[in-house]
């Protein structure tokens, strides 16, 4: 675009772009951006898909939208927008892209990655019906492991309400090993609280709903596991 710079102050109507040539260039770049990634080489994909997207966008913005001949203030307005956008993305990137830090852990994101990878391992990326996929995930599901990853954070690995993250909570997390706890609980209530949170039965909102994480079958297994802490059952 460098040869066009001297047009800058000549108003808007005296530039001569060969639109057909730009269009044909765009088509050639488009074909490359589709064929390049077919090779399956990672860096070729990055360059042909995303590198060429930037080149195509520049061609359109400069020649079709005539930004190359536009007054400088327009470029500043757009640049400000772009910078603010990148600033926002950069600001939240550490939280979104990492799933754990010094003293925090994104349990839900980790669980989602784990479930997704288990699904991929089960099917090797083959196309399958949704329903069957859930069965496979359920088969690879272990209520004790899930309790250890999610519930134990507050309720403790042994269910005694002594998890690290629970120490500061008010009211404190329930202890499943306390016989008094079980005097007012039945299986249905435990399952409801796991699925919908304790607030759903008038309890503390600190016990979050976890229903989105489990299938119905997995929910039953986790409920059974929590029930197994009841000292009265022994």
């Amino acid at each position: 675009m460098s040869e066009n710079i001297h047009h800058d102050d000549h108003g808007h109507d005296d530039h001569h772009v060969n639109y057909t040539k730009i269009y044909l260039t765009l088509l050639v770049l488009f074909v490359i951006s589709v064929l390049g990634p077919e090779l399956g080489i990672r860096w070729v994909t990055l360059i042909t898909a995303f590198g060429i997207a930037i080149v195509k966008a520049r061609l359109v913005v400069n020649n079709f939208m005539h930004l190359a001949w536009e007054k400088r203030i327009v470029k500043w307005v757009l640049a400000t927008s772009l910078i603010l956008m990148f600033l926002m993305v950069a600001g939240v990137a550490p939280d979104v892209m990492n799933h754990e830090g010094n003293n925090w852990e994104n349990v839900a994101a980790k669980a989602e990655v784990e479930r997704g990878l288990a699904y991929m391992a089960g099917y090797g990326g083959e196309e399958e019906e949704e329903g069957e996929a859930e069965v496979v995930v359920a088969a690879g599901f272990n209520a004790e492991v899930s309790f250890g990853q999610i519930c134990a954070t507050c309720h403790g690995a042994g269910g005694a309400g002594d998890g690290v993250a629970g120490a500061a909570l008010d009211p404190p997390p329930a202890s499943f090993t306390d016989p008094a706890f079980w005097e007012t609980r039945d299986r249905e209530r435990i399952k409801t609280v796991i699925r919908d949170g304790a607030a759903a039965v008038g309890g503390s909102a600190l016990m979050a709903p976890w229903g989105a994480l489990y299938t119905e079958e997995q929910l039953d297994q986790v409920t059974d596991y929590v029930m197994s802490f009841n000292p009265g059952n022994e």
């Binding site: 057909t20 088509l27 079709f64 757009l78 699904y119």
Partner: protein
Amino acid sequence: MAHARPIATTRSATGIPTPRLAVWWILASEVVIFGGLLGAYLMHRLGHPEWAEAASHTQTWIGALNTFVLLTSSFTAVLAHQAAEKGNGKQAAKFLGFTIIGALLFLVIKSYEWTTEILAGYTITANNFWSFYYTAAGLHALHVIAGAIIMGFVAVDAFRGRELHRVEIIGIYWHFVDVVWIFLFPLLYIAK
């Protein structure tokens, strides 16, 4: 008051015609809207290796076909602008008509694509990948619909030789919609 003409369309501190400055401001806000959405998508995509499985089900050749349609409609939009600059309203209206046809073709192809995907069980609630997929492509499709409708009004005026400067304004907007798709295409269809 002898002159009823509104001042806003005649005064310009920047030296840029007010309507054109206005459309650039709109696009500046669009940059943040689409940029934020695509940025969020990209961050989640990089943090979630399991999305690759979901992404492998998008239909590359349909996305490619739509890329071709939008690129071509951008070309006809800029030809409309060229005709309008020469004062040829009828010619400009004709090219805008081609662009509208391109927009409709894009939407027909997209409807077919989404229908096959939804019937296969890949709905907006299937998982986070599909949520982003339908949100991003859907927001873009709404821009295509809005652009096509406005272009219809501009084309009718242009055909009668009126308000020819609007041909350039709607064109700038339309090219932006094309640019957004240029980035959506590799993000949703190519990177697998």
